[in-house]
């Protein structure tokens, strides 16, 4: 198990400068700032939010039952039940962060692991893993969701698990293709002749080359999983009304995007910014940690 223990050496050596370099990058700092802001907002939502997220305010609806536009008493306006959208977005961040970061991260990890293994070994291990991936991809996810919804009590963790369980397949496939190309490179052969174990080759030599792609999948995955959560919740697997999530706010209100655009565009912008922030941060970290990019800005 000496294979993995090296990890710290390089990182720690670069560590002091990573932060310093990060601080010099405006965009990365913007990303970090937004992530921190949203996380704090989610944690301290009860202190910040002017109303409870599920309180259907009498003054939140016009007499005809129309929601209030942003501004005035309601910062982000109100939704179709007269609830304060600002409060809902704040509380919704809790769900969406868990889905976008945890579930998506888990899916990414599983996918990478399976993809790398299959791509490196090819042969029957690769065949088995990739055919399993095919199977999962071909599998009707919505149906599974409907089934789970009826069997389990809906909960955030179930939907997170479902997302992690079904969303790794795409990553796995792409990682697989990349890895099988990498595995043919000469430096991997060189590593083998040094006696490097499989784990070491996979984690120290192949994985770093996949990092840019993993950043792409990971950050774009934030958006898609947050939206997927809404679909699954809609079918009854995940959070149930009135618990807000950015995805379900959009989902519930998307037909009203002309009558009450704020109901779709504000949570939409949040998702976009969250994914973008992670991307900016990830890109910056990659630039800093990845030597081959040095001096390219």
């Amino acid at each position: 198990m000496t294979e993995l223990s090296i990890k710290t050496t390089t990182v720690s050596r670069a560590d002091p400068t990573v932060w310093a370099q990060l601080f010099r990058r405006k965009l990365a700092m913007f990303g970090l700032g937004f992530i921190v802001l949203i996380t704090l907002g989610a944690i301290f939502a009860p202190l910040i939010a002017p109303f409870a997220p599920d309180e259907q305010l009498f003054e939140g609806l016009t007499l005809q039952g129309a929601p209030m536009a942003p501004g005035g008493q309601f910062l982000f306006g109100t939704d179709l039940l007269g609830r304060d959208l600002f409060a809902r977005v704040l509380y919704g961040a809790r769900t969406s962060l868990i889905i976008g970061v945890v579930a998506n991260g888990l899916a990414l990890m599983i996918g990478t692991l399976i993809g790398v293994t299959a791509g490196y070994f090819r042969g029957w291990i690769g065949a088995v893993l990739m055919r399993f991936t095919d199977l999962m991809m071909a599998f009707p996810v919505l149906l599974l969701a409907i089934c789970l919804a009826a069997i389990f009590q809906p909960s955030l963790w179930i939907v997170a698990m479902v997302i992690a369980f079904v969303n790794w397949v795409q990553t796995a496939r792409v990682v697989y293709t990349e890895t099988s190309a990498l595995a043919e490179r000469e430096f991997i052969a060189a590593e083998k002749t040094l006696g490097a174990g499989t784990l070491r080759i996979l984690f120290r030599h192949i994985l770093p080359h996949l990092v840019p792609m993993i950043i792409v999948w990971g950050t774009l995955g934030i958006s898609t999983t947050v939206l997927l959560e809404a679909t699954l919740s809609y079918l009854g697997v995940g959070v149930q009304p009135p618990t807000p999530s950015w995805g379900n706010i959009i989902f519930e209100n998307q037909t009203y995007f002309q009558a009450a655009p704020w109901l779709v565009f504000i949570p939409g912008a949040m998702i976009l910014l969250l994914a973008l922030s992670f991307n900016l941060l990830g890109d910056a970290l990659r630039d800093i940690l990845d030597p081959t990019q040095r001096g390219m800005r």
Partner: protein, 306 residues
């Protein structure tokens, strides 16, 4: 190669059997009774039992599956519970529209994604790169329903360039393809950028430039094919991802595809249709992946099919 192909086709068949079994099982345990959907709200218990018997739904699971499966291998998808029509015919009548839409979407994705991704990679770190990054993320974060309606509103209603939904001519195809493809184009452009950045650094690009090749040739002939490898893998995936988006896009644009059929069937537990659509889309996905795997060695000769 031939041996590989045969092996993969056998595996494909096995996967499809697996998918059919699991889906059938899911539908079996699904706490929603198709018979009650058929019988309707005024039915007596007797009627319900009659129908259940007629459809063979009172038999043990294994028997039901065996019956379905034996039909399947003979190309018989069964009859819809609610429409009473042959599922095969229903799917066949809608499949062309869906395939057309998917092709259109893939075309849009590739066109937009590869172009923007390449531009971003070339202009790495410039403002246009950042702008394109925001575009990609917006494309991925935007709910397709809203994108579709906005597109319809702007290009069909306000500008009148395209018909407001419908099916038939090329003009009908443009907006739905674009809507379905826009999300993928976000993915593709990010993927493309990332792999292009890598490739542009390679020594052989330097060689190509040293030959004095035009910019287009360096990009098109040397950088693109090297960068496109992960993209190829995505096309197989896309077919799977489309299956979820297609429901929305089809209904916004009134596109007579398979998505709407599937959605209605799911809601009403019309098992033969659900099974049929699942099998067809599973086949498409698995074959799409197979195709991607077959193409890769042609693009990167270092990879060998094993």
């Amino acid at each position: 190669m031939l041996a590989y192909l045969i092996r993969r086709l056998v595996q494909t068949a096995l996967i499809l059997v697996g998918v059919s079994f699991v889906t059938f099982l899911l539908l079996y345990v699904l706490p929603a009774d198709p018979v009650r959907q058929i019988a309707g709200r005024s039915a007596t218990a007797q009627t319900v039992e009659n129908i259940r018997h007629q459809l063979g739904l009172d038999q043990p699971f294994i028997v039901q599956y065996a019956n379905y499966f034996s039909g399947l291998v003979q190309g018989d998808f069964g009859r819809s519970y609610l429409q009473k029509t042959e599922v095969g015919a229903l799917i066949a009548s809608r499949l062309p529209a869906t395939l057309l839409l998917m092709l259109g979407a893939i075309f849009c994705e590739l066109l937009i994604g590869l172009t923007l991704g390449s531009i971003a990679a070339i202009k790495r770190g410039k403002w246009i790169d950042q702008l394109l990054m925001v575009f990609s993320f917006a494309a991925v974060s935007a709910p397709q329903f809203v994108v579709g309606l906005l597109a319809l509103y702007i290009f069909a209603v306000k500008l009148g360039w395209f018909p407001i939904g419908g099916y038939g001519t090329f003009a009908h195809l443009v907006l739905p393809s674009l809507t379905l493809g826009i999300m993928g184009s976000g993915w593709y452009s990010r993927m493309m950028r990332s792999s292009m950045v890598d490739v542009l650094r390679a020594d052989f690009i330097r060689t190509a430039r040293a030959k004095g090749l035009t910019r287009w040739r360096v990009l098109g002939r040397h950088a693109l094919p090297n960068a496109i490898l992960p993209i190829i893998a995505m096309i197989g995936i896309d077919i799977g991802l489309f299956m979820s988006g297609i429901v929305v896009v089809e209904s916004v644009f009134g596109w007579p595809g398979i998505g709407q059929l599937a959605w209605q069937a799911i809601q009403r537990v019309d098992i033969p249709i659900i099974m049929g659509v699942t099998m067809v889309s599973a086949t498409a996905i698995v074959l799409g992946n197979l195709l991607a795997d077959l193409i890769t060695p042609f693009i990167d000769p270092r990879i060998k099919l094993r």
